[in-house]
């Protein structure tokens, strides 16, 4: 028999149902795997074995009842160990956002997305590493050390949800939650050779997602396949009265059985195949497009003319919102405090000593963009351009059903490569930012490897609330190929 940790989520769910294993056994296997490899990967900031076993025992009870026929409609999530990015709250579990300013903080409540997983029987294994307050594309900005890419420990896993992506890629858990504000789920998915979803803005509740850029933040998913992600997505998606920006109404059902993609129109934006893109990345993406063509998709070149404005617009809006969102970290009510001579000195010391350099850089950028006299030139102007980017997508989706592109211009880069060059780091997200600005869903999945054996990802983007077609196309692709089944040797 395959080792428990090598099962797919559905195989594990099947084995649990059949009584071939228990949730406790499965959870212990994941904990053992964490002990084995996380010393090298450093995906987790907090492991919660006690909580996990509590969840596992509860899941075993649910499974026992189901076997007695008392609970027919059992979720495939029952007893499945998952990890949670450390920017989502779980009551009583340390939550740091990768920052010293939240060291020791235990939130008094649980995020809606996480709660829905727990309610469906999932087992929470722990909190995963992240760039501080999700600001970064490599997990190097974490105050608690970098996460290593399971495919090459000298390289970054991407970020900011690098811990979640690495945990899934290293098979320490079956799936994980990340967050995606500018590409933070999709880019690490591509770097780690797994599948990642950024849902539409408003599709999954943000309640309990510690805000970075509120109008861009989404709760995303990491798993090995679209089919696995669909289990978590259907559990979490839907209105939450605690999040006024969450969409009311029913969630479209995810249909995975159909392998035939005839009639689906795929747009390939010319602006996404730029100079400087790694040749292996372009080649793998072109090859994947051919596979989609073979499955019946109609490919056509399209234009998203404002693509080059996404980066500057993002780096005004996200920092502006962040400058307000991060004002609450003042050492007064929670987290460590650095006492100064007076109140203002205490503020300066606490925030000055406990925030990392990238967080401070973005707070300053955002504060500047909102300042009196600059607001119209920066923030107001950026919002106007954001509307143009949104309209690019709306126009494109009149002609095509989805848009395909690379996730990132390159494969995973060595740790420290962009250390002194924040701009180069910002360019990592150039293909993923537009979906956040437009609020549309994006899904990244593995489509090959470069010469160094590093994974390459492709991104497909759908219209707002168009997750269903992304799942359907990815699932068909993953039935026709086996890139997603390739494993990092660790």
């Amino acid at each position: 028999m395959t080792a428990l940790i090598d099962l797919s989520l559905h195989e594990a769910a099947q084995a649990l149902r059949a009584g071939e294993t228990s949730a406790r056994e499965l959870t212990l296997a994941c904990i053992a795997r964490m002990e084995e490899v996380d010393g090298h990967v450093h995906a987790f900031l907090a492991q919660t074995p006690d909580l996990a076993l509590e969840h596992a025992d509860r899941a075993d009870k649910m499974l026992a009842e189901a076997r007695k026929g008392e609970n027919e409609s059992l979720s495939n999530l029952v007893g499945i160990p998952v990890a949670i990015k450390d920017v989502l709250t779980i009551r009583g579990v340390p939550t740091t956002c990768g920052s010293k300013i939240l060291e020791g903080y235990r939130p008094p409540y649980t995020a809606t997305s996480v709660q829905r997983l727990i309610d469906s029987g999932a087992v929470i294994l722990g909190k995963t590493n992240t760039d501080e307050f999700a600001m970064g594309s490599s997990t190097e900005n974490s105050a608690y050390g970098v996460t290593h890419n399971p495919w090459d420990l000298a390289r970054v896993p991407g970020g900011s949800s690098g811990g979640s992506a690495a945990a899934v890629a290293a098979r320490m858990c079956f799936a994980a939650l990340g967050t995606d504000t500018g590409g933070s789920v999709r880019q690490p998915a591509a770097f780690c050779g797994i599948t990642g979803l950024k849902p539409s803005y408003g599709r999954v509740s943000r309640y309990g997602l510690i805000a970075y850029g509120s109008s861009l933040d989404t709760v995303g998913i990491h798993a090995h396949s679209a089919a696995e992600m669909a289990v978590l997505y259907t559990t979490m998606a839907g209105h939450d009265e605690l999040d006024s920006t969450s969409m009311p109404g029913a969630v479209e059902e995810i249909q995975l059985q159909d392998g035939d993609l005839r009639g689906i129109r795929v747009g390939v934006p010319k602006e996404y195949f730029i100079d400087g893109i790694q040749p292996a990345v372009e080649a793998a993406v072109r090859e994947a497009l051919n596979v989609l063509g073979d499955l019946g998709c109609e490919l056509q070149e399209i234009s998203l003319p404002h693509t080059n404005l996404a980066l500057p617009v993002y780096y005004i809006i996200a920092p502006a919102e962040a400058s307000a969102n991060l004002a609450r970290y003042d050492g007064i009510r929670f987290g460590p405090r650095k006492n100064g001579d007076d109140l203002w000195d205490t503020y300066l010391k606490t925030r000055g000593e406990l925030f990392g350099p990238e967080v401070k850089r973005r707070i300053m950028l955002g504060t500047y963009a909102l300042s009196s006299g600059y607001y119209d030139a920066y923030y107001a102007q950026a919002q106007k351009v954001r509307t143009l980017i949104k309209q690019d997508f709306e126009r494109a989706f009149e002609r095509v059903d989805l848009i395909a592109s690379p996730v990132t211009p390159t494969t995973a880069f060595p740790i420290g490569a962009h250390e002194d060059d924040p701009l180069a780091m910002y360019l990592e997200d150039v293909f993923t930012l537009p979906a956040n600005l437009a609020g549309v869903p994006g899904l990244a999945f593995p489509v090959g490897f470069d010469d160094s054996g590093l994974p390459i990802g492709m991104q497909i983007t759908g219209p707002h609330l168009g997750e269903a077609i992304l799942f359907r196309v990815t699932h068909a692709y993953q039935k026709a190929t086996d890139w997603h089944n390739k494993e990092a040797l660790l």
């Binding site: 939130p107 006024s244 004002a327 003042d330 009510r333 109140l343 300042s371």
Partner: protein, 487 residues
């Protein structure tokens, strides 16, 4: 010396008495008496990851006020973040409204010295209150019970020209909030708070002078003193050829002077921007109209109706409509006793009862006298069962003990003496007791009649029916006159 004219605008913050807070489910409680930090949750303490949800009831209350102030209500308004650091502000920003407030362009009538004046309202918007800081010798304490309580900001145009007008405006606004049942508008407890913008200009000048802003005025008295101090200060500066500096001031209650607030607190750039966690607030026209249809009658309209329809005198109508609770009590009494004349009810509430309340220093809602008990008493007066003066004594006793009128009248034997035989008996005794006075009367000294009347009344402890007594006394004196031998 040049006469200077003050130009004053008021900014009023009123906490709305909704059941729950503006953006979370925590209860709104009296922040003076509730135990600190017992009505808080992760949202109103600004815990990371939390999001606001708009309290529909607070929006309804705000619409009620905006409609009563004749404002234009925006079908789409937006919330904004107002950014500044202070320990009583847990998120580091206050959710308020900036561009596109809930309502604009209203007005309210005020009356000063019998003159009516229309004061324009610039805007009405919703926001959240901050926590409450208590500064001690070596540290400060924060109570977040108040954090997130719905706060309504009402900004007037600079239409006020005197302290009297400021006071009239403040009182009228307080009355409006109370009549609309949206706020206790209690100044002592900080439920409503004032800020004033003040400038002065030479009488007759067109151009406005430089204005200063006085913050945190928490009583009518403090506001009047601070504004009047500021008017003098600015007038003196200008008269001496100096300039007024545009600045934010505080009121020093001890020294009775306005003092500039320290630079750090003054130099705010609030960096307003639209709150991304709240979609624009869209209001259905039909909902606004529904709220309009259910608006209660306000003080001015009530006063007019009391005079026009209930035939109350204007003074009594004023007294009855100054406080919503008094007007409610009056109307409840009128409803409980439809057969009694409203003027009499108005007279008893606005006169004797009002004095008793004032002397005791209590509010009408605290009185032991129920509207049924009061209407019973007035009914007995109307039926002639008890004299006016006795009724006042009975009311005093009712006020003190909460006992019913009949019970007190019976216990104290205050019922009016209407038995002619008994009255005649008392008259006979008085006429025998004071033969000299009777003689003088019979000789033509008419005023002696009133003196004799008083003696009989005293003999009956004031209980004699005055009409009957008068008639009987005259009859007996006439009888004596006939028996007199001619002089």
């Amino acid at each position: 010396m040049t006469e200077f004219e003050p130009i004053i605008g008021l900014e009023v913050h009123a906490e709305l008495q909704t059941r729950s807070k503006m953006f979370c489910g925590c209860a709104v409680v009296d922040s003076v008496s509730a135990t600190a930090n017992t009505r808080v949750c992760e949202i109103c303490t600004g815990m990371p990851g939390t999001l606001p949800v708009i309290n529909r009831r607070a929006v309804e209350f705000a619409i009620r006020v905006a409609l009563a102030l004749h404002c234009e209500i925006a079908e789409t308004s937006i919330f904004a973040r107002k950014n500044y650091f202070y320990p009583d502000l847990p998120k580091g920003f206050q959710i308020s409204q900036y561009e596109l407030p809930l309502a604009v362009n209203g007005w309210m009538m005020i009356t000063t010295n019998g003159e009516e004046k229309r004061i324009a309202i610039r805007r009405v918007h919703l926001e959240e209150d901050t926590g409450k800081l208590t500064h001690r010798q070596t540290n400060s304490l924060i109570d977040y019970n108040r954090s997130g309580v719905p706060l309504l900001e009402i900004v007037s145009e600079p239409d006020l020209r005197s302290i009297d007008e400021v006071r009239a405006y403040a009182i009228a606004l307080r009355s409006l909030l109370r009549f609309l049942e949206v706020s206790s508008a209690d100044m002592e407890k900080g439920v409503i708070r004032f800020e004033a913008n003040i400038s002065v200009r030479p009488q007759g000048a067109e151009i406005l002078g430089t204005r200063t802003e006085i913050k945190n005025l928490n009583s009518l008295r403090a506001m009047a003193q601070a504004i009047s101090y500021e008017i003098d200060r600015q007038s003196r500066l200008l008269a001496n050829g100096q300039e007024v500096r545009q600045e934010t001031l505080g009121w020093d209650e001890g020294l009775k002077v306005t003092v500039p607030q320290r630079g750090k607190e003054e130099a705010h750039d609030y960096r307003y921007f639209p709150e991304p966690d709240l979609p624009p607030l869209h209001l259905e026209r039909s909902w606004i109209e529904e709220i309009r249809a259910k608006l209660p009658e306000l003080a001015r309209a009530k006063r007019q109706r009391y005079v026009d329809e209930l035939k109350l005198n204007p003074y009594t109508a004023d007294v009855l409509t100054n406080e919503k609770d008094i007007a409610d009590y009056f109307e409840a009494t009128v409803a409980a006793a439809p057969d009694l004349p409203a003027q009499q009810i108005g007279h008893w509430i606005g006169g004797p009862l009002f004095s008793l309340l004032n002397d005791a220093g209590i509010k009408i809602r605290e009185t032991l006298i129920s509207v049924e008990q009061l209407s019973e008493l007035i009914g007995l007066v109307e039926l002639g069962k008890i004299s006016n003066s006795s009724a006042k004594a009975v009311l005093t006793e009712m006020f003190a003990s909460g006992a019913g009128a009949s019970q007190i009248i019976e216990a104290q034997g205050l019922e009016i003496l209407a038995d002619s035989a008994i009255i005649d008996g008392h008259i006979e005794k008085v006429l025998v007791e004071f033969p000299d006075q009777v003689q003088q009367y019979l000789l033509g000294k008419e005023p002696i009649f009133e003196w004799l009347f008083g003696q009989v009344m005293r003999a009956t402890s004031g209980r004699s029916d005055p009409q009957r007594l008068r008639q009987a006394l005259a009859r007996q004196l006439r009888a004596l006159d006939k028996r007199q031998p001619p002089a």
